[in-house]
């Protein structure tokens, strides 16, 4: 028993760690600024380059003990410190690291700097040193420009200048969604709802029709199996019996009558939990156990 519990616990722990590792694999480098003259300031009021990470999961991810590096030969360059509640990134949210080379300023200050005017490689590693994501920032990215993904955690990298459709978006979504495009599409293309009705009714009908056909098939297989069992148990494989078995319909009344007869004959019942079983209980009579002698006679009423 103990062995089983230990095996189950190990399996659970392995599953949990696999899940955790899997969720960390979905953290992405999302936007990078090499030289910062007019963008955001850190908590000391200083402007430096920054790296934005994005949690592409629909669940929170703990990024402590992961590594950031600007040198592929040193993957464990900057370990994200343990013990900071802010290293837990909420689902589909961002976090910014300042590349000021001053890790003593806090969790979100790396121990390396990005160098303007040259290519900068950045890598994100898991705790075991495996590479999760990497990007090469070209030297052509100028001051106050960023190199960012087209959409959060996905799409091609491109230079963003801060102009319209190329916003610089530290700690926020690379594409700002202020409306539900699907709803807008339905409002525009399907004004009266015919399209939705046709599509949705097709899906509902096909789902239930598939289920229906499936259960016709299962029912047919079940009938065939029970028929062959019946023939096997009676030892009679005569064709007439088979044909009769296939064509005979058991009505509810017949089934009830058979069940009652079996019940009477074997005094047995099936696996239903609600069956009422009545058994006669015989007890030998003894005046010592008789209730009647233990009762006091009620005071009689004089009815004269």
């Amino acid at each position: 028993m103990k062995k089983r519990i230990i095996i189950a616990a190990i399996a659970l722990a392995a599953g949990a760690s696999a899940l955790s590792a899997q969720s960390r694999k979905a953290v992405r480098l999302n936007e990078v600024m090499v030289e910062n003259n007019s963008s955001i300031v850190d908590d000391y009021g200083v402007r430096t380059g920054w790296i934005e990470l994005f949690n592409a999961n629909f669940a929170p991810v703990e990024i402590s003990s992961m590594f950031l590096s600007n040198d592929s030969t040193q993957p464990r360059m900057y370990p994200v410190p343990l013990g900071d509640v802010n290293t837990r990134i909420h689902k589909r949210q961002h976090v910014v690291f300042f590349t000021d080379g001053e890790p003593n300023k806090g969790t979100f200050h790396t121990n390396f700097v990005l160098t303007p005017g040259q290519d900068n490689w950045i890598g994100l590693y898991d705790a075991d040193g495996s590479l999760i994501d990497e990007v090469l920032i070209p030297a052509s990215v100028e001051a106050d420009q960023t190199f960012a993904r087209a959409t959060d955690g996905d799409g091609d990298w491109a230079v963003r200048t801060g102009e319209e459709d190329a916003y610089i978006t530290p700690s926020s979504a690379n594409v700002i969604k202020d409306r539900n495009s699907r709803v807008e599409m339905f409002a525009e293309k399907d004004e009266n709802g015919f399209g939705m009705t046709i599509m949705a009714m097709c899906v509902v009908f096909s789902a239930l029709l598939t289920l229906c056909l499936c259960f016709y098939a299962i029912g047919a297989i079940g009938k065939r199996i029970s028929r062959s069992n019946k023939i096997k148990s009676t030892g009679d494989d005569h064709k007439d019996r088979e044909v009769r078995a296939a064509t005979t319909h058991d009505s509810g009344e017949e089934i009830a009558a058979i069940v009652m007869a079996l019940h009477e004959h074997f005094n047995a019942h099936d696996t239903e939990s609600t069956i009422l079983t009545i058994n006669k209980v015989k007890r030998a009579y003894s005046p010592w156990s008789s209730k009647i002698y233990g009762l006091r006679e009620l005071p009689g009423h004089n009815r004269h």
């Binding site: 539900n180 699907r182 599509m199 949705a200 899906v203 289920l211 229906c212 259960f215 299962i218 009505s251």
Partner: protein, 385 residues
Amino acid sequence: MSFGEFLLNNLRQFWELTGFANAEFGNFVMLAVGLFFIWLAIKKNFEPMLLVPIGFGILIGNVPFNTTAGLEIGIYEEGSVLNILYNGVSAGWYPPLIFLGIGAMTDFSALIANPKLMLIGAAAQFGIFGAYMVALLLGFSPDQAGAIAIIGGADGPTAIFLSSKLAPNLMGAIAVSAYSYMALVPVIQPPLMRLFTTKKERLIRMKPARAVSQNEKIIFPIVGMLLTCFVVPSGLPLLGMLFFGNLLRECGVTTRLAKTASNALTDIVTILLGLTVGASTQASQFLTPQTIFIFFLGFMAFIIASSSGVLFVKLFNLVLPKEKKINPLIGNAGVSAVPMSARISNNLGLEYDPSNYLLMHAMGPNVAGVIGSAVAAGVLLGFLV
């Protein structure tokens, strides 16, 4: 400040915190609605399990209080007890728990024995999309229209689940409307059933369903969940729990779990769901012109759903052999409203032929309606989120 002024000041402050000082006309309207629901439940026996908690919830939600005092008592004030209980509605985890209970208490035998009845459950979902089109005509946006239209599924938990995702601001009105019309099914459906059927059709006798083996009953929730959820993964929370509850019931080795899911758990969640849905109808949020439209659309949805179920059976009968014809009186049961609409089929059938029991036949489309409305909710969620 004299002692007298001190007393007066405190009494004035206390008065400002009372319900009398903060009452508005809307509060009294909603209190009257709450009392009406309780009256319907107790005196008319209309879905008392739902209308008593909802009615009392409306009373709780509409006791006026000073919202600027930071008392943390209102259902929309973060951290209040009611707000914590309301999380099950707003985050949508009460409805799947109710579905677990429904699965654990539903016998799908009628459906397994006669799978073609599933199509009636599918046809009745036209009520949802009919109401969707009318809602668009009235100027609602597609996501709001979808949330309102799901009232036609006649399934409270599904309506709450979908509206919490598509139009959280309309959820209170949608939930109250859905439950109100479910309670009014005995009033809404019979006239429609009479209108669309002939006397000859109402007398159709259906063959008794074949006996279903336990293996089939066990296979049903597993295959049902996999098939429907592969088609509509967004229906997973509702359909997954529905079929899981049914597996607990049918597998024969988890009787205790099935009993808990179908009794204690369902009762607890029903109490919390009903009460918090009722309490969410604060007059300031609830008494808007939109609510009137929502009630109108809900009514339309019920009428379309019930009618399309009955009419589909008539259409279906055209292609069925004579001995396999379906009594169209079970068509109304394609809208969920379990088991009320199936009981109506049975009662109406008995009215025309005192020995024609339709209950078990009607349970087929009835539970297919539950599956169908969950699939429809998944489709709307998939298209509009």
